[in-house]
């Protein structure tokens, strides 16, 4: 079926280029939704801003780094604490939020003095912390503040600190994706290669595009440790600033989120000859395949098979239990981009579910090539979906459960359908064998909870009926 115009989009026909329903015999050279394009006026987009893509997704995960947000206070709060990525140093990065708290006078007279004072204050308040990211936001970019010059002054004055500046205000791109890009390229240009790591194993990797959502990184790190593989840097799950400066010394980059960090993996390959090994670390079968690839790369297949056997023994029976009960259930995945292609086959193969619709906020056409190739015929694929389109889709496919974030999740709850938090998870980790079982459990609980059915009951009408004796 060609690209499709939903009923709700009759007044914004441009949306047709962003919606595809896969039909038998078609391939991705015939139809591919437009994506990473400007949101069309008239559509109520669910996207975040470019600054958010840099700060909330990538930079803010670092566990030993002050995240100085140069802008009004709202930019700080709205990108803090909404994604649960813990760390093994008592969650430093989740406990604090930093902002220059720009006011009208700073906008009129310039914010550089305020920025410098805030940076120095933050370092003095937290004397053990010697690393900082500084982000521009819309206001400070528009008035032409020069945070790189300020960062140089602060580095010179304090002497023992290192600062990375991300110049990616919210308006810099069409979505969060621009922030990923700017941060990746800035990091490889300015910071990678500036610290030499201590190499302790003959096998070394970078893990790229894992952000330790509810402990994902802990699962992956545990596997690497059991295999005797040193993680030079995890970009950026449970990572330190300096670990990420030493990525040039790994033998291979194992890439999970190719959308948010593929740029860095590509540049590591181009500049340092470190190959990029793309894997899916969500999903039971995918995790085994990812580990096997790493095992072949290092010639340690025996260790990998032993690890897989050990994990299968712990988790396979649980996974089978959920599969028996979730088989045939319909699921929609409305997340950022990569989770569409990471999850569609995983949910179908591991749990026997049917993925009926997928929507991406910031995916590029590369992501749609992957997901349409992996998805089955009849599934709906949407770029930058709006709320009315979501209602159309619900009517068309009647999912049993929806994976999405809390914002769209509220919409889903209002129509009395269960949703599972596809961004920050309900009760993760979701990666690895253990994570696949957690994910299955959360889907099972969502699908079988009586809450949504009870919420749909009109108790006021029922009460009146009981009182009047007609119930």
């Amino acid at each position: 079926m060609p690209l499709t115009l939903f009923k709700s989009d009759e007044l914004i026909p441009e949306r047709k280029k962003h919606v595809y329903i896969k039909a038998p015999g078609e391939d991705i050279t015939e139809f591919l939704p437009l994506s990473n394009e400007e949101t069309i006026p008239g559509t109520l987009s669910e996207r975040g801003c470019a600054f958010c893509g840099a700060k909330l997704v990538i930079g803010g995960v670092l566990k030993d780094t002050i995240q100085m947000i140069h802008g009004p206070i709202g930019c700080a709060y709205d990108t803090w604490h909404t994604k649960r990525y813990p760390s093994d140093n008592d969650n430093f990065q989740l406990k604090y939020v930093w902002s220059t708290n720009m006011k009208e006078s700073n906008v009129v007279f310039g914010g550089e003095k305020q920025l410098k004072a805030s940076m120095i204050e933050a370092f003095k308040e937290m004397p053990d912390i010697k690393r900082m990211f500084v982000y521009t936001t819309c206001a400070t970019a528009l008035i032409g503040d020069d945070p790189k010059a300020v960062a140089k002054q602060v580095e010179k004055e304090l002497g023992d600190v290192d600062i990375f500046v991300v110049e990616c205000p919210g308006f810099a791109g069409v979505s969060q994706s621009k922030g990923h890009h700017v941060l990746n390229i800035g990091w490889i240009n300015e910071k990678v290669g500036t610290v030499e790591p201590e190499i302790t194993s003959e096998y070394t990797v970078n893990l790229i595009g894992d952000y330790n959502i509810q402990g994902d990184a802990y699962v992956l790190h545990c596997y690497m440790e059991k295999l005797g593989i040193q993680i030079v840097a995890d970009f950026t799950g449970n990572a330190t600033y300096d670990e990420c400066r030493s990525m040039h010394r790994a033998q291979v980059s194992v890439v999970n989120c190719a959308r948010s960090a593929g740029y860095l993996a590509n540049e590591l390959n181009k500049r340092y000859g470190i190959p990029r090994l793309d894997v899916d670390t969500w999903g039971f079968s995918y995790t085994a395949e990812a580990l096997r690839k790493v095992g072949v790369f290092f010639g340690i297949e025996d260790r990998v098979e032993a690890l897989i056997e050990e994990e299968m023994e712990k988790y396979k029976a649980k996974m089978d239990w959920y599969k028996e009960r979730l088989s045939g259930k319909k699921v929609a995945i409305w997340t950022g981009g990569p989770r569409l292609w990471h999850w569609t086959k995983a949910l179908e193969d591991d749990l026997g579910m049917t993925v009926v619709a997928m929507s991406s906020k910031f995916g590029h056409q590369e992501d749609f090539e992957k997901v349409i190739s992996r998805g089955h015929e009849g599934a709906i694929y949407i770029d930058d979906a709006n709320e009315l389109e979501f209602f159309d889709v619900l009517e068309m496919v009647h999912p049993d459960v929806v994976f999405t974030g809390p914002r769209v999740g509220e919409l889903i709850k209002k129509v009395h359908l269960p949703y599972v938090n596809g961004h920050a998870y309900h009760n993760g980790p979701y990666m690895g064998f253990e994570g696949a079982v957690n994910m299955a459990r959360d889907i099972y609980n969502a699908v079988n909870s009586p809450m949504m059915k009870l919420a749909a009951d009109d108790i006021v009408a029922q009460s009146k009926a009981i009182i009047s004796g007609s119930f």
Partner: protein, 113 residues
């Protein structure tokens, strides 16, 4: 052979991420490097790739491909060396056609990452 080519092509499209890297040259390098190594593994059980990190990447992906298709696509076991070579070469051409030459992805030729 036509149906075997289509079956393997669809299998690869659905399973592997290496065909969808960011740019044309990455995709072409991966498809050629990995499937040439897979062809050699299927024909001889060995791989003549060297020990560079890139070679090890191709080899690790190829070994997974070979293991998967031997398990899931039974017709592969029945092919002789000539048949395997024809199968892989035709699948490679089809993959390059779909993921590189005729891809609708507007970013594939962007000169920077």
């Amino acid at each position: 052979m036509e149906s075997n080519v289509n079956e393997l092509y669809k299998y690869i499209q659905q399973k592997y991420l290496w065909q969808f890297y960011s740019r044309n040259w990455d995709r072409e390098n991966n498809i050629n490097g990995i499937l040439d190594a897979a062809k050699e593994l299927l024909m001889t059980g060995k791989c003549s790739l060297g020990d560079s990190l890139t070679d090890r990447h191709y080899y690790s992906e190829a070994k997974i491909v070979v293991s998967d298709i031997k398990r899931d696509l039974k017709f592969v076991e029945g092919l002789n060396e000539k048949g395997i070579a024809e199968l892989i070469d035709r699948v490679k051409a089809k993959l390059i056609d779909v993921t590189v030459t005729n891809s609708l992805n507007g970013e594939l030729n962007v000169g920077y990452y």
